[in-house]
Symmetry: C2
Subunit: 175 residues, 2 copies
DNA sequence: ACAAGATAGTTTCCATGGAAGATAAAGTTA
DNA sequence: TAACTTTATCTTCCATGGAAACTATCTTGT
């Protein structure tokens, strides 16, 4: 069984998802509650994690989207320059969203745009010196923050969790 | 072990997060990549799951937020009625967002509003007959969909994953 | 009972991002 | 090469939700 079937055993360990699933079992006992535990928790963990993450980004006057662009450019390595299309693919957002994110970052002086020489339609977005400095600094705070958020799990648990999440992602229907 | 630890053995099993972490290890070998594997995958799984989930909601002309309100009312049991504040707490959104979600649902005839008799400030939101029918139908499709999305994991894996996610949620810094 | 503060919802304004059309530049084909 | 078609990016319009101000009502302290 997925977890304690007996609610009296450790009732205080119930989390929000357990309570929601309990309600469903009362109201719709015909539905299999197993999948809700996973999907519901991924959703809620995402909300919670995202909030913590954004708080760090905000310290550098960045939104999630802007940090994402800076980080993508940074980890692409020198010369820290990608096309808008490459950024779009990495961020899994529409081209319009990339345009706006880059607009804001350009206004802040953290990235620059230039035309691609081989294809005049293409635009290359590159970290400026300030952008590079800022993202390197924000990144350290970000990773430290992530480590803090996961500190409640042992290394083994993190590893098992990683493997299960990887497998889930890989086995998801492709469309 | 859930899958190959040796990247040379089956390098094509790398997923997007593995590739991103690989870039970071090349560019910033000083940073501990462990936490990224978990946080990055939760984020991306959330995106992917959300997309699949919303596709089902859309079949009933519902957005995620609207479905969330209907489902919260439905699982609260008869008389399928909650205050706006209770909905706000369940959905983890602001009161303004609740107002707008309920506005849309009311316009669609799926919920009704009435004043609370004990507190004239309070508004009780209740499923209409049509709302009840719709959510019961949408719910079945939703749960079936969730089951399909998780079909790639064995029952044991789902159970382990559930436990690890529950623990992570419980050990997250509270603010 | 009355003033001050707390609380429940709503409204207004803003930020973000999606969808789809608009542009401009390639690529393709006759 | 002229005419399509496709591609890369940008623009416009819209939907959603957050923040904070606003309104009405309730609670508390005196």
């Amino acid at each position: 069984m997925p977890q304690d079937a007996d609610p009296l055993a450790r009732p205080t360990d119930d989390d929000a998802v357990d309570r929601i699933v309990g309600q469903w079992q009362r109201e719709r006992p015909d539905l299999d509650p197993g999948p809700m535990h996973v999907v519901g928790r991924i959703t809620r963990l995402h909300w919670a994690l995202d909030e913590h993450l954004c708080r760090v980004f905000a310290r550098y006057d960045l939104g999630r989207g802007e940090f994402d662009v800076l980080a993508t450019l940074r980890r692409s390595g020198p010369p820290f320059e990608l096309t808008a299309g490459e950024l779009r693919g990495a961020a899994m957002v529409t081209s319009g969203a990339v345009t706006k994110r880059v607009d804001r970052l350009e206004r802040a002086g953290l990235v620059g745009r230039r035309a691609a020489e081989d294809d005049a339609r293409g635009r290359l977005i590159r970290l400026t010196g300030r952008g590079r400095e800022l993202v390197d600094e924000a990144l350290e705070a970000h990773v430290k923050n992530e480590a803090r958020l996961l500190a409640g799990l042992t290394a083994d648990e993190r590893s098992t969790l990683t493997d299960l999440l990887r497998k889930l992602g890989r086995t998801l229907p492709s469309e």
